[in-house]
Amino acid sequence: MITTSVGCQTELTDAERLQAAQLDRVWQEPAGFIGWFKAVHHTTIGRRYFFTALLFFLLAGLLAGAMRLQLAFPEAHFLSNDKYNQIFTMHGSTMMFLFAVPMMFETFSVYLVPLMVGTRNIAFPRLNAYSYYLYAFGGLMFYIAFVCNTGADRGWFSYVPLAGPDYGPGKRPDFWAQLITFTEVSALAVAVETIVTVFRLRAPGMSLNRIPIFVWGQVVVAFMVIFALPGVVLSSTMLLLDRTCSTQFFNPAVGGDVLLFQHLFWWFGHPEVYLIFIPGTAIVSTIVTTFSRRHVFGYLVLVLAMVATGFMAFGLWVHHMFATGIPQIAESYFTAASMMIAIPTGAQIFCWIATMATGKVVLRTPLWWVIGFFFVFVMGGMTGIFVASVPVDLQVHDTYFVVAHFHYVLIGGAVFPLFGAITYWFPKLTGRMMSEKLGQLSFWLFFVGFNVTFFPMHLVGLRGMPRRVYTYPPNMGWTQLNQIESLGYILLFLSVCILLWNMFKSARSGAIAGPNPWNAGTLEWATTSPPPCYNFLHLPTVNGREAIWDATPNQPVVVGLDEDARSFLTTRTLDAEPDGRDEFPSPSIWPFLAAVATSLAFIGSIFTPWGITIGAIPVAITMIAWFWPKRQPAERRRAREIWQSE
């Protein structure tokens, strides 16, 4: 049995039982109602991220339903134009900021990365809790505002001057801008945690060239987040300042410039697309590997492809602005760059196909979702070449052709892999398998429904239907196509319901999974399902890219960490040789309180410029309390200190 050496023991010795009990005492999450807010373990926070992001996905999906109903008939009056504008903005903003990034990046990084690199928690666990609460509060604020008829209504990009002080009355765009602030703070925090976890907390032996591709994907995304999000930090801040403090960034009358917003926004907005689907491709690599029963073909190519995509993503933000009129030379550069991005993506596709073609393919539900991903995502990539070519883009830009394109890319590149991932990691999360029958049913419904909904959008776009219109004249030849799309939505709706029902039912009565139901190779399968609060009884060591598959018959495990504290092992960045020991902070209520204080400051600043300045005081207080050291553990640590020899 392969898993014996790194995998978790089925039979424990007495010594190990004692050890397990001890670890359990130390790592347990605090109990009770207050305890809920103190929790800091990455599996707990990761689960919360997952369910919150899923909730927002469903909300945005329902909003999409409202839009499809409105557009099913020309000149329909089911929604007023005011409501429709709010709804499509809420749909876009939710999907991008409250579902896609938190789900594909935060959730997967927080829950899986520490398990996959074989450590006991994510780096900076308290920051992790803080980031979750901020994200949750931000989303909550956004939707409460929506219920109060204050839903953002200027599009998920909120271009100025339309969203600016002169043309966006009320507080709607301000709530949008602050939503951005909330979500970007949480994404940035998780990015830092992920990078540090992967660079310093890997299991001994997991050198750079042995890091699972999935983890590589999350690292690339983390770096992209760090360099991309500041763009939207600035643009949304400028927007807020213009609206509340009368700054003049976007006022052409006094040297302001409306394109400045677009440049900053798309500096973030384009990498955004990639940081949504790179985790998707990372998931695909993982599932393809497991279900082709072989090491992935072209590990290096796949990793480099993701890195290259990450770099290139910053070189083509302007291709969202071709219609604003760009100098010929810049135009050529951005066209070339936009087309070249197809090379790394193509390389990945070919490698996956090669992996399957040379392996033993086991057609279980996760792989079905991946195959669906191929059909949909590749189509999205192809239409991407249309929009990359400036002249063609000038025709299809801001039409339903583009709507079709990015739904093929994002639903293909993120949601299909996501549903695959849910089926794949569900056993790890709950200890039970999902129903294969229901899983395949929901896949086929979703696959058909998706194409029925979004393929006609290409055609209706080429027939001249622009985006973001709340209705259209009857005589344009758009009606039937729109009605087909609306019918497709029903299939998608059913499929998601079935998926949810499947999760719900399987969590209770699914077949018991055991530690490694898929007989997979990465470390998260080397512990019980669900993992204990200390992740691994023995911290594992690694001997190959697929830690479990490549383990030697007697793979060593790590010993010598203090077991009366939440201590962990740090390893060197390149070769993952043991480097030092450190201690995670204990659970604490302060991150939660700090998040509350921060939220109050953010929301306050929507209504008065003083919001931030005054709001900063409670934030500072809670943060100081958060970092204030406790005496007793300090004494313990000091008694055992071993200093780094310079």
Partner: protein, 184 residues
């Protein structure tokens, strides 16, 4: 999501004037589109056909005040009153009110016109637009909550944004319903 309680509380407060502030009535219906008639309104029967609730409906809605701001340009009030500083006509952003600072008084100023230059707009501007103008004019001297009053405009900044305008205190000031529930 128990974690949300504090936010819920806060946003409940926000909700109260939130919904009102974001009200956008596009089709005012027949009553609103009545052309403003010249019915005199004065101290004797303040309001008369128009009630204060009318005024507060517009002074509570950021959209209505924004429309008022646009109409102030479109109907060329700016031609005489400039951006509130006054020129040919009196200033509107100070505490001096020749004919009173209450909404219904300003309403009748616009509808009936006033000696020495202020023309009567009776029969020209629909009723609801007069009220939008009234709301905006009052925002110029900071009579409106700052979360309703307009932000800066995309023009040469010649004065503070209405939302940053300190509240002037006209001699005849008496509490207006809309002035309760200021956010700060």
């Amino acid at each position: 999501m128990r974690a949300a309680i504090p936010i819920l509380v806060l946003s409940a407060a926000l909700a109260l004037n939130g919904c009102k502030r974001e009200q956008r009535v596009f089709d005012p219906g027949s009553s609103g589109s009545q052309v403003a008639n010249g019915v005199p309104l004065n101290e004797v029967h303040a309001g008369g056909p128009v009630s204060l609730s009318d005024a507060s409906k517009y002074e509570g809605s950021a959209y209505a005040v924004g429309e008022g701001k646009r109409l102030y340009e479109a109907y060329n009030c700016v031609g005489c009153h400039a951006h509130g500083g006054g020129a040919i006509g009196p200033a509107l952003m100070d505490s001096q009110w020749i004919y009173g600072s209450r909404p219904e008084q300003i309403y009748s100023d616009i509808v009936q016109g006033r000696p020495n230059g202020m023309p009567s707009y009776a029969g020209k501007i629909p009723d609801y637009q007069v009220w939008e103008l009234v709301a905006y004019v009052r925002s110029m001297s900071g009579q409106l909550p700052s979360d309703v009053a307009p932000s800066r405009s995309d023009e040469m900044p010649v004065k503070k944004a209405e939302q940053a305008q300190p509240k002037e205190h006209p001699a005849d000031e008496n509490p207006q319903p809309v002035q309760q529930g200021r956010p700060q």
